[in-house]
Symmetry: C2
Subunit: 646 residues, 2 copies
């Protein structure tokens, strides 16, 4: 096995998409500036951040005490990473100047030996590196590496890159084979090190990532021994149990991990780095380990929306097929992590199953995390809410029926910012012989072998055109991912090159259509397919979806809200023989979205709690909206899975 | 309104019933002796009780420290109450002598002023009566009153009665109008005081009960103020929040409480005392308050099994129609409390709706709390369990798939003991003109107006005969509750007196058949009805039962277990057009139970987690067992509510 395709940079793609451009604009115009103010403690009525002030104090530019979480630094890092991508999407010299100023402070905060973590610099210098399990120094370092690489790639400025290289060198001097055999409590540094390796070409960063990954689980008692040795705890009564090895993914060496377990974000960050390293090194054994974990997530542990980590306890994976809709955790960040994982798997092997999941995540349980106005956020993405119960009663308390202001949860908003601003880089990968289009998305992509302009009404309609302007006279392959729901044998599915038909079945391999030719400027590949509404059934082992169907159209999962469907939507039924009318929403907050109208039924009962009388069936027209857009019209009931008529 | 009927004593009824006699025997032969050993710390491998030793220490008969919960005394009281009833059912001079010995110790432990609570006598005498919210002195007193009354009624011995009267007098000297306006944190003393009033005829006990009931909620801040005043807490970090007034049923005066809220056992103990007092005093206003709360429970907040208090948090009532099956709490004790409440409502007004619920509780979610072998117990009675999830994963951790040993939970076993041994007294009430039969149950009842012998195959078959041996030559009424599920217009429903037909519709009133006549010795009332299997539907507002049916036969709710039905019972479907075959179980642990065999379907899916392929329908024969008998054949899946074919 050798690396199949390389990542592309954010700056290579300009999104010009009916769906995504608006979301990117909102992130760049609303979220990034607001977040900057919060990090600078300039917003009233929001919990104090102090994150930039911590760096100032550590830099000796200000007096005071550290304030915030032990991983407060990562808020600044994630914001900087988002800013970096946003500068590629939409240059903003003033924003860039302010970011430069913050980077100056960060540089000054760095210690002579390269160490950089304001909590320990200011508050407990004697405790540096003693509590990897709880104190997230490596996690913060990883995020700062990602920020530095992004900032370098989009602005060309390398000051922060120098900072994180010195930090990485400090880490390498301390940890590794023949040194301290440490591993991070919250995986992330592995991702940062891989990016740092790619931008600097220094293999020691990649080898450091490999050490952190391969060391993990060799000694399942590592965190237990660390705790005994240091004799202090950071979180008091909330301290992690170092014996819960699965929570921390240290229960077995990564090659022997067969199930996705523990804290979902930590797990998938780790898998992302594993996939990245597997692709980079052509490491088949590591790739196979990734594939086992991927398959377990996708085939046993994922909501139809792409949500993962179904239990609130530990924000963690539960057991196979345990996917309760009304108790779901399905953290926004975990779905974002799946986008990262899918991207790295696609670079290792362009297989449509990875792109399908990337698409599922992007259009559903990632962006369900953000209000359409860009100002409120969900951490948790349930598939059913019931006002009066959700957010209030034990078991459902984490499942809120409306998005709170972003300041309530710092990690998901910043993660959404960096995902949405970097979106273009997920759309493609490239190698010497081919360019791979993973997502249907309107854009201008500036690849090594060609400039490609994609025009589309996707995700609302099944029409996509790729206009190719080659930079080489040599033939190369354009490989286009065709989502698995597209029925390639359907007569409505037509793919043409310059108007001439393509033999779809012959040219399809693992979900990609391979078109190899010597391209002429303006060559056009067109893809048309019928975007019908699909009824989807869950595996019988998923108890919570028994007897139910979910509706999908294109990449969207649909849901039913009380505001459209009245009270007690659990009494509504979708007929077995059914049809759905497509309506483009013309006004209001959902303007532009395709809604579904389904003639169905409402089952009516009397006042008794239990009765031998069969519920009466009344005709009712059901309305469904894309799941990502739920909870934008006030608090109301919502369900994804609906019972079929019986 | 005046009192309609009086309670009868346990000693007036000898149960001779195919179903209940065996359960009574098991309680008396297995549970009571085992529990005695535990209370005396004579069982290895069981958490130390120390309950009798606490009394010895308080009595100066032993040296040592108090050990156990602050309400440890109540374990002794509840055991003594069960012993008292058991002596009526099955005399045992040795057991009685040992109980007398314990009562001697209790008497010696009582303080000169009548105070009796070993925790405060031994450990914190300076803190007596300062923490009514948390420390349950009144709760323990109430249980000791119930024990004393029971012991007096079945043995004629009044030593313990003297003890509790002195305790009650002490309470009266301290609390009430013009004195301290205290109320109990855990209701129970009100029940004890009412019983003490009836056996002694002293109205001050009844008035003390009235004070505790009517004072409650007048000042919703009572517990908050108490906490501020005393400046100490008993439970440390687990202390109750005195501002959660609904939890403690102090949010409003009892007359203004419209919803059943808070800790379910405390609530229903309170309603029981309210109903008792309402009946006793002919207090229409109080009766109406009870009726409002009764209706809220029965029409909005009760599982089909009779389980109440659906949320584990606070062992409490949730909101209307929030009845999750797999997260149910439905404490055994709460269902037992509903039996008590129903009994008192029946004495206030013989209305079949109370008897229906009493029956539902007795045959379902009370005795589901005890293993058929008598040795293991459920606190919590879910309507769905899934091994690997139930008892293990957040949200479901309290729902165990198998009954633990009884020592794990002290309250439900002791409550089951006193309910089952006192069963005869729930079967009847009596007034000057009528005797009321509330339950079909084989027995010899020695009432004031007649000895009545009931013979029946109930609950397995619909045949009951009442043979009357009058003690008076005056006419009187035998009023027999006909369960509401019996279709009185069905041609199979036949009621005769000495073989002659009775005009059922004319003589039925509120669920009771009234037969007034001058009875001759050996007069026989016979009731026959078709005991068909019923499909029951839940109100559409119960989200968790949407699309489902439950099966009932006679008083039993049925459930489906994995041991009979294979894996993934959520994939099984009951046809809309259906039939059920009745099978008497001939061997094994369920011997004697009627099982149901239903030709139905299993919905089969492929390996994919989500698919557009409709599940295949395969024929399957489903087997259902009475709910009370579930989890007697090893850990396995269980469901009450099953989807109908669609």
């Amino acid at each position: 096995m050798s690396k199949t395709a390389n990542e592309i940079r954010v700056s290579q793609v300009e999104i010009r998409d009916g769906f995504w451009s608006e979301i990117q604009d909102r992130i760049i115009d609303v979220v990034i500036p607001f977040q900057e103010k919060v990090l600078n403690d300039e917003v009233e009525g929001v919990p104090k951040s102090h994150a930039i002030e911590n760096f100032r104090i550590a830099a000796g530019l200000s007096e005071g005490e550290f304030y915030g979480m032990v991983f407060q630094d990562s808020d600044v890092a994630k914001w900087l990473e988002g800013v970096a991508y946003s500068l590629a999407v939409k240059p903003d010299p003033e924003l860039e100047a302010r970011a430069d100023g913050i980077i100056d402070i960060i540089e000054k905060a760095q210690q002579p030996d390269g160490y950089l973590d304001t909590y320990f610099i200011i508050k407990e210098p004697e405790h540096r590196w003693q509590n990897l399990q709880e104190c997230h120094e490596l996690y913060c370092a990883g995020h700062m590496m990602e920020a530095a690489v992004a900032y370098y790639e989009t602005t060309g400025k390398d000051k922060l890159l120098g900072v994180v290289q010195r930090m990485a060198d400090h880490i390498i001097s301390r940890f590794g084979e023949g040194k301290e055999r440490g591993i991070p409590g919250h995986q992330e540094v592995e991702i940062g090190l891989m990016k740092l390796y790619r931008v600097t070409g220094r293999t020691e960063y990649k080898e450091m990532a490999r050490f952190f990954l391969e060391e993990r689980g060799k000694n399942p008692d590592y965190f237990y021994e660390e705790k005994k040795k240091r004799g202090w705890q950071h979180w008091g009564q909330y301290t992690l149990d170092p014996l819960d090895t699965a929570y921390a993914q240290v229960h077995a060496p990564v090659y022997e991990q067969k199930k996705a377990v523990g804290h979902a974000v930590r797990a998938v960050y780790m898998y992302t780095a594993m996939a990245d390293l597997a692709g980079e090194d052509g490491d088949k054994r590591l790739y196979d380990a990734c594939l086992t974990l991927w398959d377990n997530i996708v085939n046993q542990r994922m909501y139809i929306t792409g949500g993962i980590g179904s239990t609130v306890e530990g924000e963690a994976f539960s057991t196979d097929y345990d996917l309760p809709n009304d108790m779901a955790y399905a953290e926004t960040c975990a779905s974002i992590a799946m986008v990262f994982f899918a991207r790295r798997m696609l670079e290792a092997e362009p297989d449509g199953r990875f792109a399908d999941i990337m698409e599922r995540e992007l259009y559903n349980s990632t962006i369900s995390g953000i209000q359409l106005n860009g100002k409120q956020y969900f951490y948790v993405n349930p598939l059913e809410v019931n006002p009066g119960i959700s957010g209030k009663i034990f078991g459902y308390r984490h499942d809120l029926p409306e998005r709170p202001g972003w300041y309530e949860c710092a990690c998901c908003p910043t993660n959404l910012v960096r995902m949405v601003t970097a979106l273009g880089s997920y759309a493609w990968s490239e190698n010497d012989t081919a360019v791979y289009s993973h997502l249907f998305m309107g854009q201008k992509a500036d690849l090594k072998k060609a400039e490609i302009i994609v025009k589309t009404d996707y995700p609302w309609e099944g029409r996509v055109s790729y206009e190719v302007f080659p930079k080489t006279e040599m033939p190369f392959t354009l490989a286009v991912h065709i989502p698995s729901y597209v029925q390639i044998q359907d007569e409505c599915t037509v793919i043409t090159v310059n108007g001439g038909p393509v033999s779809i079945e012959k040219q399809m391999k693992k979900g990609y259509l391979y078109i190899n030719r010597t391209w002429q400027a303006g060559d056009r590949v067109e893809i048309c397919f019928d975007m019908k509404v699909r009824k989807v059934f869950a595996n019988g082992k998923v108890r919570d979806d028994a007897g139910c169907v979910a509706l999908m159209r294109g990449p969207f999962v649909y849901c039913f809200e009380g505001v459209d469907n009245g009270e007690d939507i659990q009494t509504l039924r979708i007929p077995r023989e059914w049809k759905a009318e497509i309506c483009r929403c013309e006004d209001g907050v959902l303007k532009g979205n395709v809604l579904l109208k389904i003639p169905g039924y409402r089952m009516c009962t009397g006042d008794e709690l239990y009765s031998e009388e069969r519920p009466r069936k009344e005709e009712a027209v059901l309305t469904a909206v894309p799941y990502y857009a739920w909870a934008n019209r006030g608090e109301n009931q919502m369900r994804v899975w609906m019972l079929e008529e019986n």
